[in-house]
Symmetry: C2
Subunit: 201 residues, 2 copies
């Protein structure tokens, strides 16, 4: 089971130095505590460094940026999601017809966003390359593959892009939190959408 990480793989095979490993754990633990207390949006890198008892430079050296840190914190949930749609039981995993897998993918993603969405929003790199993060590329490829399997011949790549846009955390959270849309209604709309997209060839 080879999952694609949300964060770049460490290129070298050499393990980190002992102090580096220790500090990583310190920072991650402190980050989880702070998010528990103040929410993801309330976490600042300065406070985090202080709480972890390390310098700010260390935090940035380890995780690159605030978004990188959030990605690391997400990676467990991320790996779980990946595992389910790539290797898990049908209808989400392989074995079910493509339309059913598409439907299940959206439903699962909506539920995932409702659980981890705040973190995911904080992890969104603000620049263009937000869509080129490995995990996002994987989701996209998965959608594209299912669309092809369902017989969609008209530009599955772009259609997968459109479907990805529909289940972006920001919109889903807005619909649920601001407009009080029932998550089940979101799922129903997704079912309707993908059914129509793949209907008839």
């Amino acid at each position: 089971m080879c999952l694609v990480s949300l964060i770049p793989i460490r290129p070298g095979l050499e393990p980190e130095r002992r102090d580096a490993a220790r500090n990583r754990q310190l920072v991650l633990r402190a980050a989880r505590e702070l998010i528990e207390e103040c929410g993801a949006d309330g976490l600042t890198m300065g406070t985090l460094a202080q709480r972890a008892g390390v310098g700010k430079g260390t935090v940035f050296r380890r995780f690159g940026s605030r978004a990188g840190l959030m990605m690391t914190l997400l990676s467990d949930a991320e790996a779980g999601f990946q595992g389910r749609f790539m290797f898990g039981p049908p209808p989400l995993g392989p074995g079910a017809p493509p339309l059913e897998r598409l439907i299940a993918f959206g439903e699962e993603r909506i539920a995932w966003v409702l659980e981890f969405g705040e973190l995911a929003r904080a992890a969104d790199v603000s620049a263009y390359n937000r869509f080129d993060v490995p995990a996002a590329v994987l989701w996209h490829r998965h959608l594209e593959m299912l669309l092809r399997e369902a017989g969609l011949t008209a530009d599955p790549w772009l259609m997968a892009t459109s479907l990805s846009a529909v289940v972006e955390p920001e919109r889903i959270l807005h619909a649920v939190r601001v407009h009080q849309i029932d998550p089940e209604r979101l799922a129903a709309s997704w079912r309707e959408l993908v059914s129509r997209v793949v209907r008839g060839a």
Copy 2:
């Protein structure tokens, strides 16, 4: 012709004081110059204030935030777009069948994003309420109306939300600038998508 502004209407009817009006013009002129020279992303509020010859506080008092300033700069282009799809000639404006209007809306929007997208990205308020800006609400209502007219009975409100997501500036610019997708291909995919969404009642 009553267009919905991208920025909140000034609540009071009283005109601004003369110095306020003068400074607004100074700031807007300086902003256009700076964007010309450095791009929207290169504009900083400090530099802008300096260039305009006013204090930073004045800029923020006038426009509220960097995003607010960008919205003001966009409002002409925005009003033009609104005018075309609400009152302009078919197929974008009233008179054409709903599916054709939907198709034209997407095509026009894609072209608009390619022209003003950088500004639009800079104008995007980062918070949740980005989707509740008057202009965004208007686009959404327009899509919803066209979907209803096209006979879509299954949750037109959420379907309009999904379609809005598809033509967000960030994704479109990413597709074109990073993946070098031909804009005509984007338009074709949009046609395919909306045709399938409204097909069969």
